[in-house]
Assembly symmetry: C2
Homo-oligomer: 339 residues x 2
């Protein structure tokens, strides 16, 4: 069954064993073209006995086709991108395409490097998070000649196609809901965000909508690194110490929101009576919390699905919409009064 040679097997080895030409072996293994059942079986048998695994490198070079889709995202360690990936995988599973993931750690230069690396494998498409890239990265994407889908965000101009939500609008909507519920003394807690453009846009939309009603954010607090849950806890404590009059806390993601929620409950503070809370993302984690945190679904899975569908469709020559804006819905949970 196994083979112990140093040199790896080729079509030629299989063809010699099965007594047909390399071309026929190739046809059998790719299920393409007419091959009689007898030879097909003989070839499959030989391939299996030898433990032959086709060399896609050579195959790709010869056929000028690579069944890979580059997926470039900032991080795997929060809950958001794995869910996007799962949407992508689900769709691609029914095609012959395969996702390959690259992680950028929110660093533009690393993004550029990862992109270069992936493009050098000539994938069939690129799905990349965000609309902000280095100039070189944009140029590569534009020059690549393959379908490109920028995801998560629609506040900007895409190289090619984009699928996402408007984070500015998400921030605005949340602000409106908060104001409508009667809160006025609002604190914001988020990541240090020079490089997280989507968090920044939410923040901008949020402050903008507040300003329109003459409200200004009373307190801000930013973190970076560490356990988000713990950070949410700490930041909440710090902020309330500084400004006990706050009646609402808007967190830029659910994890720190959850940390804040746990802290407030521990302190015996009335949520949402005394203080209201809201996060962002709609992560699954929230379902296990003592109280349901108000949040806004970022449509992560759906974004992955749509993006993959675009790539798959373009692979088949079909035309597709260039911009797909999804609309997140507020979930009020138990931490944001309704009216």
């Amino acid at each position: 069954m196994a083979n112990d040679e140093k040199r790896s097997l080729t079509l030629r080895d299989v063809s010699e064993v099965s007594g047909v030409s390399e071309m026929t072996v190739s046809r059998v293994l790719r299920n393409r073209g007419d091959v009689s059942n007898a030879t097909r079986e003989r070839v499959l048998r030989a391939a299996k006995d030898l433990g032959y695994v086709p060399n896609k490198i050579a195959g790709a070079l010869a056929s000028q086709r690579v069944n890979l889709v580059a997926v470039i995202i900032p991080s795997l360690s929060n809950m958001v991108f794995p869910e996007v990936l799962s949407g992508i995988s689900q769709v691609l599973e029914s095609t012959d395409l395969q996702p390959v993931v690259g992680v950028t750690d929110y660093l533009p230069e690393k993004e550029e490097k990862v992109l270069y690396e992936m493009l050098s494998w000539r994938p069939s498409g690129v799905i990349i998070a965000g609309l902000e890239h280095t100039e070189a990265a944009r140029a590569m994407l534009a020059a690549s000649g393959i379908p490109v889908v920028e995801i998560m965000d629609v506040d900007g101009k895409p190289v090619d196609a984009m699928v996402g939500i408007s984070h500015r609008r998400a921030g605005r909507e949340m602000a409106k809901a908060i104001l409508k519920a009667g809160y006025r003394n609002i604190g914001f807690l988020g990541t240090k965000m020079p490089l997280d453009h989507r968090a920044r846009k939410r923040f901008e939309g949020f402050t903008e909508a507040l300003a329109k009603e003459g409200v200004e954010i009373a307190q801000k607090e930013f973190y970076s690194g560490g356990s988000a849950l713990a950070k949410g806890r700490e930041m909440t404590a710090t902020m309330l110490e500084r400004e006990p009059e706050l009646d609402f806390l808007y967190y830029s993601n659910d994890m720190i929101g959850a940390g804040g929620l746990l802290y407030l409950l521990e302190q015996g503070i009335d949520v949402p009576g005394q203080i209201g809370l809201a996060g962002f993302n709609g992560v699954e984690l929230l379902q296990g919390l003592p109280r349901q945190l108000a949040t806004m679904d970022a449509c992560r899975r759906e974004i992955g699905v749509k993006a993959a569908e675009i790539i798959a469709a373009q692979g088949e020559g079909k035309d597709t919409a260039m911009v797909t804006e999804l609309t997140p819905k507020i979930s009020f949970g138990d931490t944001l009064k309704r009216r």
Copy 2:
């Protein structure tokens, strides 16, 4: 800067623009061999102007070398594997190797498929989670002729190298610690684990060590799917309803443990006085909980680091240890009495 042709660029295009041979361009772009500064700069300039990205497919075929390391893991959506990955990436970053991730969803057939797919790209090494694979998968690994490191687990026989902890031992140690603290009426909560061999082994070690002291697990509960935090909560409620006399709950992972902890605290139950708790993995999340859950670190990052080091070393022809067993440490937290 950008190029709009349909056909993608080749060395030839760059060579024509810069007026040297393709070989010289190749040398410049790979930083290999002697090239005068004048031509080097001319070539780099041309490549950049054209937006040329080398074709690694052709390069790999010609050089018979691929700088990819296949990393095959069951899931991305829990906290455990991303951390392993981060260890791997960190090490590989200082080499010219690059990880490529494949996900199996804990399904042996999918693992086999993913492995086949990855091997067909002729990577420089394979890092794969677990010691249990289909026979075909084992055969492929053995026949591949490249370094293979099986990770996470050392309770079994590896194809080649392995790095991990003994989950049987981890289960035993936790059992001992629990007994030593005086608990006797113990419940177990975990995943439905026919396919999660490591969870199964922990469970086996756990029951075995209890049995040695004449203790038997009083209640068991298994889940699958859904939000782990919420499941932990539900299962804990169910279990205590069925058997209020329990004085300890051992969870097969920290997420469900955290759900249980939150539930118990809400119910005003004295932890760890009335009921003790422990989980497994040592995930970062725990740091934000109201009380520190007892757990056992799975050495995830370190496993990734060691595995990557082995691959990197073998790439350079160095010999390495075939078995690396790491020893997890119990962290008592606030939910397991000390003696």
